[in-house]
Amino acid sequence: MGFNLDFALSTVPTIIGAIGTTLIATVLSCVGASVLGFTFEMIRRGGGATGLAVRFLIDFIRSTPVLAWLYFLYFVLPFYGIRLGAMTVGILGLSLYYSGYLAEVFKAGIDAIPRGQQEAARALSLTRRDTVVFVIAPQMLRNVAAPLGNYLVSILKATPYLAILAVPEMLGRAFDIASETYRYAEPLTVAGILFLALALLTSYGVKRIEQRLLAAGRR
């Protein structure tokens, strides 16, 4: 039963058709992970008992596999009567998992701002809120843009995990075809090539944006 190129090509439209689901999952997970990661970092920065608890939570998330988190949410949430679609659970899982990494990104982005910036803001009598909005946040965003872009690519490459929860993204569609036709090689090859192309394209785009930001930073 060799590799049938015609059959492989015939699966391309179906698998590409799921690209929307893949991209939506990527973007929503990235937004979720950023919001959650930033919140975690702010709580951790605040210190105290809550800060310590969040510090441990971040370490815990980073020491555990994304697959285990997906199973955890997929099976545990219904146990407590929370019924969500597989796609929602998948996005929640990726958001939670990557929030642990993005918290570190935000931490590094804030730590990289020289102390003198806050002192200058205080010497100019800016309020705490104004200092964050006009001085700290813009510089932090510039610092985190590049690593954030890299994690966007990482999250894209993690979306095939959602196929395991039967989310019909690109790998999921490939498996649908495989189970209907009992041929795995062709749809998986197509999914692999399409994913690699998408990942390379995204990381190329991220690098372009990064260079433009860097050029702007040198103004």
């Binding site: 039963m1 060799g2 590799f3 370490d59 815990f60 980073r62 020491s63 555990t64 596999p65 994304v66 697959l67 285990a68 988190w69 199973y71 955890f72 099976f75 545990v76 146990f79 570190e104 931490k107 590094a108 730590d111 894209l156 490459k157 993690a158 979306t159 095939p160 995990y161 196929a163 395991i164 790998l171 495989a178 795995y184 090689a185 998986l188 090859t189 999914a191 692999g192 994913f195 690699l196 990942a199 390379l200 990381s203």
Partner: protein, 219 residues
């Protein structure tokens, strides 16, 4: 089943987790060294080929790589055990990431190091082996620890190709015992117990290797 029984049941899969990690390293370490150094030294067409191989292993989604090799190799007439395929795929994926650390470590050395070696009359291979690589590998050791943690976590995927690792055991137990909260918490905890000490070792290493960057945290 009591909590302890669940946990012990999951830990029965620790052997496979460890085995895949160890065999994975057998692929990852040579790949990272050879391809990292090659990308650093090569120019023109050779560099393009080296980069293409690295990008295939690094930029593909690891889930897809695993399924692809598991289902496609037999079609090509190559029959490997699930353990070998898993170790190969997860190892080379991790090796692809680590190769970038090897290259970046070599590139970030001041050119004066190589010039000093040449002034002493050392050959290019001798400079690489005696001067550049030792420094680059030490400087990048915290990154390698992160790559190792990612590899351990990625082994959870082998449960999808019939290997009875910790994740597989958790799902097995879940089939006979409806207690998802305990089972999947125990699975997360099991990985945490394995990965967190490695992460702590990485932080210790980071503080020793990069005292000035001591604030950045591992995993």
């Amino acid at each position: 089943m009591s909590l302890l029984e669940i946990w012990l049941g999951i830990l029965q899969g620790l052997g496979i987790t460890a085995e895949v990690t160890a065999y994975g390293l057998v692929f990852a370490v040579p790949f990272a060294l050879v391809f990292g150094v090659a990308q650093f030294l090569a120019t023109g067409m050779t560099r393009f080929v080296v980069t293409a191989v690295i990008e295939f292993w690094r930029s593909s989604a690891v889930v897809i790589l695993l399924f692809f090799f598991y289902y496609v190799l037999p079609v090509m007439g190559v029959t490997l055990s699930a353990l070998t395929v898993s170790s190969l795929v997860l190892g080379l994926n991790a090796g692809g990431y680590a190769s970038q650390a090897v290259r970046a470590g070599l590139q970030s050395l001041p050119p004066g190091q190589r010039e000093a070696g040449m002034a002493l009359g050392l050959s290019r291979p001798a400079i690489l082996l005696l001067i550049e690589l030792p420094q680059a590998l030490v400087a990048m050791s915290p990154t390698f620890v992160n790559n190792l943690i990612q590899l351990v976590k990625a082994t959870s995927l082998v449960s999808l190709v019939t290997l009875t690792d910790m994740t597989f055991r958790a799902k097995e137990i879940a089939q006979t015992d409806y207690d998802p909260v305990a089972i999947y918490s125990a699975l997360l905890l099991a990985f945490f117990v394995v990965c967190y000490p490695i992460a702590l070792a990485g932080r210790w290493l980071e503080a020793r290797v990069n005292p000035e960057r001591g604030t950045s945290r591992g995993i």
